[in-house]
Amino acid sequence: MYFDSFAEFLLMGQHGFYVWTAYGTTAAVLLGSWLSARQAFVNARQQIARQIELADRSASSMNRDREGFNESET
């Protein structure tokens, strides 16, 4: 450990404000980039899942219609 105490570590000599601003911004930028990239992936996945569900529903309702038709025939 370079610093003698935690208080000194926070002060960073005279430069605490600059050092912590730079590191804080970096953390925020990296975290934000990660969250937004992950959200984009989840959104894309959900959008397609919804689309598939809609397609399935319309396909099954078409099948039901066809079954009804068959029943009335027999």
Binding site: M1, Y18, V19, A22, V29, S33
Partner: protein, 253 residues
Amino acid sequence: MLGASLKRLWHKLGSPRWFFSLTTPWVTFFGWSAAALLLWGTIWGLAYAPADYQQGNSFRIMYVHVPAAMLAQSLYIGMGVAGFIGLVWRMKLTDVAISACLPLGMVITALALFSGSVWGRPTWGSWWEWDGRTVSTLVLFFLFVGIYALREAIAEAELRARASALIAMVGTVNIPIIKYSVEWWNTLHQPASFGLTQKPAMPSEMWLPLLVMVLGFYCFAGMIVLLRMRSEILQREMSARWVSDWISGRESS
């Protein structure tokens, strides 16, 4: 024989489906590597590296500033190469790559400028200097923003892909300007911290944490760019059979 198999590999590389299944484990790998390296490098750089005899503790900003600036340029070079490949071989995947590099490129370049400014204040005595390095990095930022805005403005996919590929490629002339700016013009900015051919001018307990941080930033970028490319592929191939199979497979498992 070799030529034929190389050609096959090249075509495979351009296939979004193949790329998607190949990169599934990579996102996790890069993500955890980035988390571990960044945590390690930050603790090492902030608490254990010795202070600079001239700059004091403000030099610790280097551990976020230098990786951010390196990554910003690398992302741009990546886009330029993707643009070139896309224009010559008409691959779909290169446009996906360009779109995935843009958001990260913008914010990382902004971070490089901002952290440089916060470092400049205690060491140069000013938040901003109109010197070669800062101005050419500002140009890099505007290139990222410009291509992003251009993509938002063009609705036609083919035109959007070709226009952004062309600008990405042409804009790479700015990269050597950034690199040599500290040698060409009189500047306050210090020369490169790392070189491939020379030993760093710093002692190892100062540059080793920097190396860890640089690797961490690159792994982080790997994760983000892959994640964004995968989202973009899903969206573009939405109606393809393999996409619905993949989605249904996920849901049932």
